[in-house]
């Protein structure tokens, strides 16, 4: 479904991701973990094509068998990618319904779209009037995340990246969100970016990826998430740092 090869990324002349290679397969759930500032969001932005994140010439992002390195973000979305933002941006005066109407103008008629949006809002235990208020403007953290999920479901993309969908969300909302995602996962690939494995208890990942300092430092099955929870990231850190130093410092070797 999605393959990234030798992905190295920089922003504002700062190296952020280094040489990440991985393949995400259809119908699976992935968890991307890692401490703060390890590059999780940057990875998501790079896959979606954020213009600030410059990818190196050696890097390849292949989605549905096509290299999408130079593809405009909206075209990536049309091809089947979705990114749920860690911090969704407030859009004053724009409602989620208006946004979806524009995004889905070719696919779904307005009335059908509204009907579906209302139904999803209900399932997510969201007050319906959120749909016709300024998007993410004066909205609580949990509601913002639910609005991201609502867009994900209506846009109906094949590969969805959820960047910290579980942050700033209370226990009940988390359960609602996770249950909802589980119910709608058929035919979809999920990449869940998260610090904690709270959400992973509801949505068991097939694979866990751990980022550290912009690199993919470890992959494993869902038990890896449990280990991290118990021992913290330090357990990976110490080992990795030594390897890193040896490789980087020719005088020492």
């Amino acid at each position: 479904m999605l393959t990234i090869k030798n992905l190295s990324v920089s922003a504002q002349n700062k190296k952020i991701l280094e040489d990440i290679t991985y393949t995400f397969k259809k119908n699976k759930i992935y968890a991307v973990m890692g401490p703060n500032a390890s590059g999780k969001s940057s990875l998501a932005f790079s896959i979606m094509g954020h213009p600030v994140y410059k990818i190196s010439s050696k890097s390849e992002i292949i989605f549905k068998r096509r290299k999408i390195n130079g593809l405009e973000p909206y075209k990536r979305a049309e091809r089947g990618l979705f990114l749920s933002f860690q911090s969704p941006l407030p859009l004053s005066g724009v409602t989620v319904l208006q946004l979806l109407q524009v995004a889905l103008s070719k696919k779904l008629d307005v009335l059908a779209m509204r009907k579906k949006a209302k139904q999803v809002a209900k399932e997510l235990h969201m007050p319906e009037d959120l749909l016709s208020r300024s998007l993410n403007d004066g909205t609580s953290g949990g509601e913002k995340k639910k609005l991201e999920i609502l867009q994900a479901v209506l846009l109906d993309r094949d590969l969805m990246i959820f960047d910290e969908i579980d942050t700033g969300v209370d226990v009940d909302a988390l359960k609602t969100i996770a249950t909802f995602l589980k119910k709608n996962r058929k035919g979809k690939t999920y990449i869940l970016i998260t610090h904690y494995n709270r959400i992973l208890r509801y949505l068991k990942p097939d694979e866990v990826l751990v980022l550290g300092d912009g690199k993919l430092v470890k992959t494993g099955k869902h038990t890896l998430a449990d280990k991290i929870e118990k021992a913290g990231y330090e357990m990976l850190n110490s080992k990795r740092k030594t390897i890193f130093r040896q490789a980087q410092d020719p005088e020492r070797s």
Binding site: V52, Y74, A77, L81, L89, L91, A103, S105, L155
Partner: protein
């Protein structure tokens, strides 16, 4: 559905004009003789002719305003000051000449009328030729007609108010309008009458080098209320066109008037309009003013808060594209205690367009316990475009609450990327954000107009209506 959209697209982009058909056409340029001729053709009373002639003198003497937009390219000698398109006014749609009907069909009057309008008064060139007032208005004693008819049928009322709020010497363009005015609306709402549905007037300039000088007078007697809506679209011509209107509104004790403008002049028009209202005790005056199009607009709707507890409000929106300058704003004058004013201005500039907010709030000594709120937000879409604010405050009463906010925003890449991640391409994303930005003003205008305005914005942003 598809066809209709394409049709709209074509019209807005290129404008359309019907073959001109005139019974009388004045010469280019202005002279005392032309002013006399206009008055004579209209068969006006002596006092109005004298008023026009006096105004003409003032117009000749007054210098061009030099503090706002660039007006140096207006050539008064190249303008026709009066065109009478048909001999007599007609009272029903069927009686209209075919090309006039076609023009109106394109701007959608019959459809709009079907949409439960209270009355339609449409101006074709300089004379109102089509007008239908629904029975309800007559029953309530409400008068809604063109200004010329108003003068004929209600000379006393007109004489009492006409030119008293905006005298000819107010500014050069008020003087010009006072000397050559033609058409516009006359609205009289008797004591206690509440006009439920908005009164709508469509205006359209349809002659090259032709200036339009309509004159509107609205009187809302004690405890009455009315909403007047003017919408303008204009065909595109090569030569410069001048639109210099004057609107005077009297809002008596406890009355309420809302005046909504959704305007889209073609990009060669100089739109220089003087709008002023007087609000008596506990009266409410609201101007809702949307300016899209024109080459230059200078317009500062104002409210004189004369009576205790009077409230004035201006909500304005301006969009300036390539080669356009929207110099718009508001003026509020607090003369009495407990008066309050609110100005909300939203402007958008794009492709080198320029917007200016120019506002004046004056609180006179003794206007105790007054409340002033001014908020002006500018959105700039690219590096070439520009926005300035000139907010003047003259607060001469210490017991006044003043709140002033101003923001300038550039359309952010982050927001555009957010929308792109939802599969929305840039022009559509910009349109969404711009429509969101002006939403606080757009939500105040009647639905069919706000849909129209969203379409116009979409057209300005993307070059087509999708």
């Amino acid at each position: 559905m598809q066809d209709q959209t394409t049709g709209l697209d074509f019209e807005y982009r290129y404008g359309f004009s019907m073959p001109e058909k005139h019974v009388y056409k004045a010469q280019k340029g202005l002279s005392e003789h032309i002013v006399r001729t206009i008055s004579k053709i209209k068969g006006e009373p002596e006092w109005m002719r004298a008023f026009r002639l006096k105004a003409y003198k003032i117009f000749c003497e007054k210098p061009m305003p030099d503090w706002g937009a660039d007006l140096s390219r207006i050539n008064f000698g190249e303008i026709y000051y009066y065109i009478k398109p048909t001999e007599k006014q007609v009272s029903s749609w069927e009686d209209l000449p075919r090309e006039i009907k076609e023009t109106y069909d394109r701007i959608g009057i019959p459809q709009a009328e079907k949409n439960f309008l209270a009355g339609v008064s449409a101006q074709y060139e300089s004379e109102v030729v089509y007008e239908s007032i629904q029975k309800e208005l007559e029953k309530q004693g409400v008068v809604f007609c063109d200004m010329d008819t108003g003068l004929k049928k209600y000379p006393q009322i007109v004489r009492e108010y006409f030119g008293t709020l905006i005298p000819p010497h107010d500014n050069k363009f008020a003087a010009l309008n006072s000397s050559v005015w033609s058409g516009g609306s006359f609205v009289y709402v008797p004591k206690g009458a509440n006009v439920k549905l908005p009164l709508q007037a469509y205006f359209r300039i349809n002659a090259e080098r032709f200036g339009q000088f309509e004159r509107t007078l609205i009187i809302a007697e004690e405890g009455s209320s009315v909403h007047y809506v003017e919408g303008c679209t204009a065909p595109v011509y090569a030569a410069d066109s001048l639109h210099a209107a004057v609107v005077e509104i009297f809002v008596k004790k406890n009355a309420r008037v809302r005046y909504t403008t959704v305007q889209n002049w073609s990009t060669n028009v100089y739109n220089l309009v003087t709008k002023r209202a007087r609000a008596d005790e506990d009266a409410i005056m609201e101007w809702i003013d949307c300016n899209i199009g024109s080459q230059v607009t200078m317009k500062y709707p104002s409210v004189y808060l004369y009576g205790k507890g009077a409230r004035g409000e201006v909500l304005s929106m301006a969009f300036a594209g390539r080669n356009q300058h929207q110099d718009a704003g508001a003026k509020m004058f607090h003369f009495a205690p407990n008066t309050s004013s609110r100005i909300i201005s939203k402007s958008v500039s794009k492709d080198g367009g320029r917007t200016s907010y120019r506002g004046l709030v004056m609180v006179r000594p003794g206007a105790k316990n007054s409340n002033v709120f001014v908020s002006c937000d500018a959105l700039i879409l690219d590096e070439k475009s520009r926005s300035d604010t000139y907010p003047y405050m003259k607060i001469k009463e210490s017991n006044t609450a003043v709140q002033h906010e101003a923001t300038v925003e550039k359309l952010g890449d982050e927001k555009l990327f957010y929308l792109a991640s939802r599969g929305i391409k840039r022009p559509d994303a910009e349109t969404l954000l711009v429509n969101g930005f002006i939403e606080p003003v757009a939500r105040e205008i009647p639905l069919e107009y706000s849909i129209e305005m969203n379409r116009l914005i979409q057209l300005e942003m993307t070059g087509s209506v999708g």
